[in-house]
């Protein structure tokens, strides 16, 4: 049987003449002895020419031409995109490089404007002349804010300065190395990292600050002046000192040593504001935000910036209404800070839409507050699924605490919102033909009081 399989495996090689002479002899010998294999060989030997003759007709010349064109066309199509892409890529890269070179050279050669006003609020003068938005500031002049007011301006490259009045500041130096001499008032600076050939200095009567890129506040308090660093680090020089003192984020540096002038209350603490903080006006976040958003939708982001700046000026440098807190946390200040954050975001967005990108970037960076209210901090880093529940619980706790502490009328219940809701439901049910004998039992006594009672029970 094995010999039969071996012989039959060579059936077609034998027919095609691919058999060596010794193999042919073995096959002949096997076929002489095996009638079955002989029958198989005879069957397929006779059928093989006819089987091979059952061949499809060659494709027509037209079909061949079509196939050839198709194949070569597909090969070309696969090759060409690479060339195409390469050429466009090379062209685009060259153009982009050329544009960058031109921009860089222009930026390097073009004189940077020294400073220009961004926003104004209050009575602001420069060299005795009233200022307006967008006005330029030349070195050698003095900017003054009489009374309450605020001016923000860009100095050199990516240095945003906000001067809160009453204040007086003199400008000096160049656009690469501006120097601001603060004679009075409060100066908040947010400045991008300086290049090697750039600098930024603020002088006070008692010293000077040199920075490479940071966010800080310089202000006067009594007869002294201080710098408070919010981000980064500054080098502070006392008058007459050669070696600087490094002031890091969160630190406050008083220029006049204790005893030299009227000492501050405590040098290590955050200094008090220059003047007695005025109480914050009622929050106008909603109103100002609505008006600013409307202006942005109307395509007038400059107006939005102006509105937000105005609202920010009203709530900046004021003391939020102080309410006692059992844990000493800045609970009442929370809505105040939220207001500032919201307006700050709107201001940054409006600056971006108005094309003042550097100011917008600076404003956006200032929004990245390293600290925040505790409930907000507690929410950070939590899984998304747990955020909502935690947030709502925190809000409920806040409401309950505010009610407990402030003794608001809404917390005391009475014929307030719950009563109004009960009357509305009664009227609605009457319209649908259902009579109600009285107020809903669950609502009697006021929903807010019930909620407060439930909170206390928990």
């Amino acid at each position: 049987m094995n010999a039969c399989k071996q012989t039959q495996a060579l059936l077609f090689d034998n027919s095609d003449g691919r058999i060596e002479s010794d193999q042919r002899a073995a096959i002949d010998a096997h076929l002489a002895a095996c009638p079955h294999c002989k029958q198989v060989f005879a069957t397929w030997a006779s059928a093989l020419p006819r089987l091979r003759g059952l061949s499809p007709e060659d494709p027509s010349a037209v079909s061949l031409r079509r196939m050839e064109n198709e194949v070569l066309g597909r090969l070309r199509a696969q090759a060409q995109p690479h060339l195409f892409r390469f050429r466009w890529f090379a062209l685009a890269s060259g153009l982009a490089l050329a544009v960058l070179v031109v921009l860089f050279s222009l930026r390097a050669t073009a004189p940077q404007p020294f400073a220009h006003i961004q926003t104004l609020w209050g009575r602001v003068t420069f060299a005795g002349l009233a200022m307006s938005n967008g006005a330029t500031i030349a070195p050698g002049g003095v900017l003054e804010i009489a009374g309450e007011g605020e001016a923000s301006f860009l100095v050199g490259r990516a240095a945003e300065v906000r001067l809160s009045g009453p204040a007086r500041v003199a400008f000096d130096g160049t656009s690469q190395k501006p120097r601001l001499r603060l004679d009075s008032g409060r100066l908040a600076v947010e400045i991008a990292h300086r290049r090697a050939d750039e600098g930024f200095a603020v002088l006070t009567a008692q010293g000077r600050i040199e920075v490479r890129g940071t966010r800080f506040v310089v202000a006067y308090a009594e007869q002294n002046s201080y710098v408070h660093v919010e981000q980064g680090e500054v080098a502070a020089y006392r008058a007459g000192d050669v070696s600087p003192s490094a002031v890091k984020a969160g630190d406050t540096f008083w220029f006049a040593r204790v005893g030299e002038t009227a000492p501050p209350a405590a040098a290590d603490e955050i200094p008090p504001p220059a003047a007695e903080p005025r109480p914050c006006p009622p929050l106008r976040c909603s109103e100002a935000g609505t008006r600013a958003r409307k202006a942005m939708r109307a395509g007038n982001p400059a107006r939005a910036v102006e509105l937000v700046e105005q609202a920010l000026g009203e709530v900046a440098n004021c003391a939020p209404a102080q309410l006692p807190s059992s844990r000493g946390e800045d609970l009442p200040g929370f809505p105040h800070q939220r207001c500032l954050d919201e307006l700050g975001y709107l201001r940054a967005e409006a600056l971006r839409q108005s094309g003042r990108l550097e100011a917008a970037i600076t404003a956006f960076r200032s929004l990245n507050r390293p600290t925040g209210h505790e409930p907000e901090r507690a929410l950070r880093g939590r899984p998304v699924g747990t955020t909502t529940r935690t947030q709502s619980r925190s809000a409920a706790e806040l409401r309950a605490r505010v009610c407990r502490l402030s003794q608001r009328s809404a917390c005391r219940g009475g014929p307030g919102r719950a009563a109004r809701r009960g009357r509305a439901e009664q009227q609605r049910s009457a319209r649908h033909g259902r009579a109600l004998s009285g107020p809903l039992p669950a609502r009697r006594g006021g929903g807010a009081r019930a909620a407060y009672a439930g909170t206390r029970a928990r």
Partner: protein
């Protein structure tokens, strides 16, 4: 000196005195003066150097054999020309990797079988033949089919054989077609199908038994192959 060459049918030059003959340009004839192997080697070298003419000549040299192989490997309802085009595109794309370790057609047939079986599987899964393949096939006008009746018989027998081949497994069908119908040796078939020679022998043995059994059940095909039909 114009020479008639059967394998070149494209670069046609109309000769007034030989109006019905297809002629090859002398420049091509100078390239194609040697054997098929030397021609193929030259065209492969030119194609590998990026010469489009090398691709063109390789296509013209092998398209008929590939077309016949694909037709035999696929069942009714398959777009043979589309498969042939795909095979040549795949092969030409892979041509830079061809190092001449085997015959060019062995290398090409390996791609052809792989591509054909892949496309046939897809076609079986996604298409339904609308017309019988008999209507599409124009059988070769061979010595056994030189009359209209014989041509009709040949078309019919070819359709029956194609149906039987289509009923085989891919491996058996490929081995049988390459060895029995196309006439490649067992070693060549083993190379084309990436299998051992012993495995190819088994596949051909099984395919031969299955084809004989089905052909004997078909009185027309059994008669055409001069076999005794099985009742």
């Amino acid at each position: 000196m114009w020479t008639i060459r059967d394998s070149f049918v494209f670069d046609l030059t109309f000769a007034p005195r030989q109006a019905t003959l297809l002629c090859v340009h002398p420049e091509l004839e100078s390239l194609g003066g040697g054997s098929e192997e030397s021609q193929t080697a030259e065209y492969v070298r030119r194609a590998q150097n990026g010469d489009a003419e090398g691709y063109r000549q390789l296509f013209r040299l092998y398209v008929r054999r590939v077309h016949r192989l694909v037709h035999r490997l696929t069942g009714p309802g398959c777009d043979v020309e589309d498969v042939v085009q795909t095979i040549f595109v795949d092969a030409f794309r892979a041509l830079p990797g061809f190092r001449g370790e085997s015959a060019f057609f062995t290398w090409l047939a390996r791609i052809a079988v792989r591509t054909t079986l892949r496309q046939a599987r897809t076609a079986r899964a996604h298409t339904v033949p609308l017309v019988d393949s008999m209507d599409l096939i124009e059988a070769r006008d061979s010595a056994t089919a030189n009359s209209p009746e014989n041509a009709s018989d040949t078309r019919r027998a070819l359709a029956r054989l194609r149906d039987i081949l289509a009923s085989l497994s891919d491996k058996r069908r490929a081995a049988f077609v390459l060895h029995v119908l196309e006439g490649h040796s067992l070693q060549e078939v083993a190379q084309m199908l990436d299998a051992r020679v012993s495995a190819i022998k088994v596949r051909i043995h099984d395919a031969r038994g299955e084809i004989e059994r089905q052909a004997r059940r078909d009185p027309f095909l059994a008669h055409y192959l001069q076999w005794e039909p099985t009742p």
